[in-house]
């Protein structure tokens, strides 16, 4: 942490937590031309935890999330996921095929823009089924019933399960994305501004669904948002990013009630 932060005690390494992190990133750096998008960022996410990443546009939070989804590769950095029956190795060493399969089986993502996450002209159930098809499911009835279960868990109205996303409202599109993301019970669920751009009332309903899923399934989540309200509702721990670096991290209530870094204080002020 920079010298600017207040004089709070440095925190020790975890001692009581017996579980190993699901996600570990170390020394993540990435430059795009002259822009240093990430500066030596370290992240750990523990099982069942919701990590919120907050920061303004250009802070590097979305770049970091793209790395977590193996959509981009850093200049430097080590990324590991603790997955059942998989060797522990830096995931950036995987080839494109292995990355794709790992992503399909173990990582779910909900994008702010549903066009990134959905085939808009295929059916909603088909969007969910495609994920299962990539993972090798070949029974039509199983595809159908698993798609139904996932859509139902995302509180998507089943009467419309074969409607095309292009015909649906923004909130419903996000539910289809969510259903697709959770259909294979991923080890990691990534949420990139999942409710940004939705009406406030719709946003509340989608967040509510996410909370319920988190409560019932203990899904490990990483949530990126510039909206402190969303982060506060969802996150157990918060990481504050600025100019590609982590300026502060802590328990959500601590970051919001006792922010240590001038930038975080500014953010919290702005929210109030």
């Amino acid at each position: 942490m920079s010298l600017e932060t207040s004089s709070a005690l440095q925190r020790a390494a975890p001692r009581l937590m017996a579980d190993a992190p699901v996600l570990t990133m170390a020394g993540m750096s990435r430059a795009y031309g002259a822009v240093q998008a990430l500066r030596a960022v370290d992240v750990s996410v523990y099982p069942g935890e919701v990590l919120g990443i907050v920061g303004e546009s250009g802070s590097g939070k979305s770049t970091l999330l793209r790395m977590m989804n193996l959509e981009d590769t850093p200049d430097n950095g080590d990324y590991r996921l603790r997955l059942p029956a998989r060797a522990d190795r830096n995931l950036f060493e995987l080839d494109r095929y292995e990355r794709r399969m790992l992503r399909a089986r173990h990582i779910g993502i909900v994008y702010q823009n549903p066009h990134l996450g959905l085939l808009m002209h295929h059916s909603s159930s088909g969007n969910v089924a495609e994920r299962l098809l990539v993972a090798g499911e070949r029974s039509f009835e199983v595809l159908r019933s698993k798609a139904r279960v996932a859509l139902d868990a995302s509180e998507f109205p089943l009467a419309r399960m074969d409607a095309r996303p292009i015909e649906l409202s923004g909130g419903m599109q996000q539910r289809v994305q969510l259903a697709k993301a959770i259909a294979l019970e991923p080890s990691l669920l990534l949420l990139d501004e999942p409710t940004t751009g939705l009406d406030v009332s719709v946003q509340a309903l989608v967040l509510d669904t996410l909370k319920r899923l988190q409560r019932e399934r203990r899904i490990t989540m990483v949530l990126v948002s510039h909206d402190l309200g969303v982060i506060r509702t969802m996150a157990d721990r918060v990481m504050v990013m600025r100019h590609g670096a982590v300026v502060e991290q802590g328990l959500a209530d601590q970051v919001f009630q006792d922010p240590q870094h001038p930038y975080t204080q500014q953010l919290v002020h702005a929210k109030l």
Binding site: P14, K211, D258, V268, K271
Partner: protein, 245 residues
């Protein structure tokens, strides 16, 4: 002293708030030290602004201390809450340390009985039994039966407070931090609260409390400590204004 004779040992604990936009530092308290044993009830005294609530929140780690130690004997071993890793604090909050306020963090579309049962479910209790207990405590705190399956986000403040207490006290913790839980509580619920606290205390739960009217819990108090008045902050600011509660 034998390491096992206290559950919490606070030594030289200090908290200041730095407010960068004012280029100012608020001193909440400093050099606070005390020990707390299992089953002991400690009352924090002091005038407004002495930092009583701030001290509770510093132990709970909503606030980060700037100096001192908060040695806590967890089931997993001794740990200093003042500098413990965030995930360790989160673990202790799930399993061992409770914080009781008058405010409920109601969530939309979660029924009262589910909110109350949640700590038991997270601790691995079976769902039917957990709901059974939840209904028992809602009843004890005087929440009417017809509200148990309703969503507390629409309840009155008083009813929300009762749901909150039922939730906060359903799972026996090892250490309870009580931040004016009796404020604005009706007599029946207050009696239920005191009796539940007495029961937990008898089970060995250690408690630190801040009460507007300590008389409410007079029979529980074992010891008091008085937070000094050497606070630099203006009296009307118990906490810095940016604090979101």
């Amino acid at each position: 002293m034998n390491a096992n004779s206290f559950i919490l040992r606070v030594q030289g604990l200090a908290k200041t708030f730095r407010m960068f936009h004012l280029e100012a530092t608020l001193h909440a308290f400093e050099d606070v030290s005390f020990d707390l044993s299992a089953g002991e009830f400690l009352l924090l005294r002091g005038h407004n602004g002495a930092g009583k609530s701030t001290l509770l929140r510093t132990i709970w780690r909503s606030y980060l201390p700037v100096a001192g130690q908060v040695l806590y004997q967890s089931r997993h071993g001794e740990i200093d809450l003042a500098n413990a890793a965030d995930v360790d604090i989160a673990l202790l909050r799930r399993e061992e340390i409770g914080f009781v306020t008058q405010f409920l963090n109601a969530r939309p579309r979660v029924a009262a009985q589910d909110i109350v049962a949640e700590p038991l479910l997270l601790a691995g209790h079976e769902r039917t039994a957990a709901l059974e207990q939840a209904r028992h405590w809602l009843d004890q705190f005087g929440v009417r039966r017809e509200l148990w399956r309703a969503y507390p986000s629409t309840f009155s403040g008083g009813e929300q407070q009762k749901v909150n207490l039922a939730r906060a006290l359903i799972l026996p913790q090892r250490l309870l931090l009580l931040d004016e839980p009796t404020a604005s509580l009706d007599a029946g619920a207050r009696a239920a609260l005191v009796s539940r606290l007495a029961e937990l205390k008898a089970q060995g739960v250690a408690m630190i409390g801040v009460f507007h009217h300590p008389g409410d819990v007079a029979q529980l108090i074992d010891r008091e400590i008085n937070l000094g008045t050497r606070v630099v902050a203006p009296a009307q600011h118990e906490e810095p204004q940016y604090v979101a509660v």
